[in-house]
Amino acid sequence: MLTIEGIEKSFSDNKVLKGIDLKVNRGDVVALIGPSGTGKTTLLRTINFLEKADKGTITIDGLTADCHNVSEREIIQLRRKTAMVFQNYNLFRNKTVLENVMEGLVVVQKKSAAEAEAIAKEQIELVGMSDRLNAYPMELSGGQQQRIGIARAMALKPDVMLLDEPTSSLDPERSAEILKVLQKVAKTGMTMVITTHEMNFAKYVSNHVVFMEAGNIVEEGSPDQIFNHPQEERTRRFVQELENPFEV
């Protein structure tokens, strides 16, 4: 479904991605974990062509693009197969909750307003925000904005969802709820790449875990492998902390 090969990316002389290869099958839920500043967000942004990689190719649903040399048309085609949930939400400031979710349906997918509204309302219901349909993003709490960001992406029913810490601002209750929704969607064949600091999520929901550090993939494998039988010393240390990080 999604194959990326040899992705490299620098910001001036700071090499942030040092050659990333990743293969994701349809319906996979990939958890991207790793320390802060490692390049997880940059990788997702590269897949969505919000950041132009210096090198490498990206294939989505059979369509391949060489990052270095890709036309505006191809980018839009590829982007329409994906949807992204941003770490800092990035809701449209000038649109209400409902409009935020409808926007892509109407403008990109050319659905009728009525149909789009129905779909949007359904998605908003799923994230528990039905009572704030007409609020502007500025009037929402952090968690509420994050949920609308998720609803906006889910409404598009893309082939691949790219989620950048989608539950960072949510309480465990709500977080579990949302992740269950995502899990259900994944079962219908939607592919997901999720960066997360929520190790329990990586452990119990994903079927493939990728551990990145400093622009490299250190280790990847099934959750069981990564959490219970890590091959690399660095992975072992990272995973160990999780046991009880706050006990003093």
Binding site: N48, F49, L50, E72, I76, R79, R80, T82, A83, M84, F86, N88, N90, L91, F92, R93, N94, K95, E103, G104, V107, V108, A135, Y136, P137, M138, E139, R152, A153, L156
Partner: protein, 233 residues
């Protein structure tokens, strides 16, 4: 002091006759200016080689040189240009028959474009780049993104600037008198020349201008409030 309020009121009515055409002209110029200015602003923001430099030179010339000189130059250039252009299409016309309204619109719209290109560039600098990314990420084309997300947000800065520009235009048109366009101020001058009531006529003109501005300001304020998107200060 010589001042007759009745004369002034009578003059207001006379002056009012020039409002529709002045208003319309200023509006047409503003709209053309905004459209062309937006294009210029994009070229500047994207720093396209060569073209950017050309645009910068044009903008600096258009803004730097006094209006009266522009009018003088265009008044002398445009008719010949226009007539030779028309002759290509088989229309023959003498340069001095070339309609002065076209001279006015072309000249002012070009200057307006230079001014608006800077206003628009400033307004765009206020946009959070993340907002643009959000649009891209749901698969919008650049054009869709521009129309649905970026422009509405840039407008909250640009709207008051457009009103500024419109008001400058409506007054700047008094120089268009050189090529025979009779605007509000010219109409007031006519009245003054007939009645020898200069003070009254100028005050009448001022009141008419002020009224136009008051109405526009009210409308623009409404629009501006709409563009706050829940961010109350």
């Amino acid at each position: 002091m010589n001042f007759d309020i009745h004369v002034m009121i009578d003059t207001i009515w006379i002056v009012f006759k020039a409002v529709p055409r002045t208003f319309l002209l200023a509006a047409v110029i503003l709209i053309l200016g905004i459209i062309l200015g937006a294009v210029l602003a994009q070229v500047k923001l994207r720093r396209i080689p060569i073209i950017s430099t050309l645009v910068n030179i044009f903008v600096s010339y258009a803004r730097g040189v006094p209006l009266i000189v522009h009018i003088y130059v265009m008044m002398n250039l445009l008719p010949d240009l226009g007539v030779s252009l028309l002759s290509v299409f088989g229309v023959t016309m003498k340069p001095h028959e070339f309609p002065s309204i076209i001279i006015v619109i072309v000249t002012y719209a070009l200057l307006e474009a230079a001014v608006e290109s800077e206003n628009i560039r400033g307004a765009f600098q206020s946009i959070d780049p993340h907002q643009i990314e959000a649009g891209k990420s749901i698969g919008m084309t650049n054009r869709q993104n521009m129309i649905r997300i970026i422009i509405p947000q840039a407008l909250s800065v640009a709207i008051p600037l457009f009103l500024n520009a419109f008001l400058k235009n409506i007054k700047g048109l008094s120089l268009a008198f050189t090529v025979g366009v009779i605007d509000i101020l010219a109409q007031a001058r006519f009245a003054a020349a007939l009645s020898y009531r200069y003070l009254e006529s100028y005050i009448a003109a001022a009141l008419v201008y002020w009224l136009i501005c008051g109405v526009l300001q009210t409308i623009f304020n409404r629009v501006e409030d709409k563009l706050k998107f829940g961010a109350v200060r």
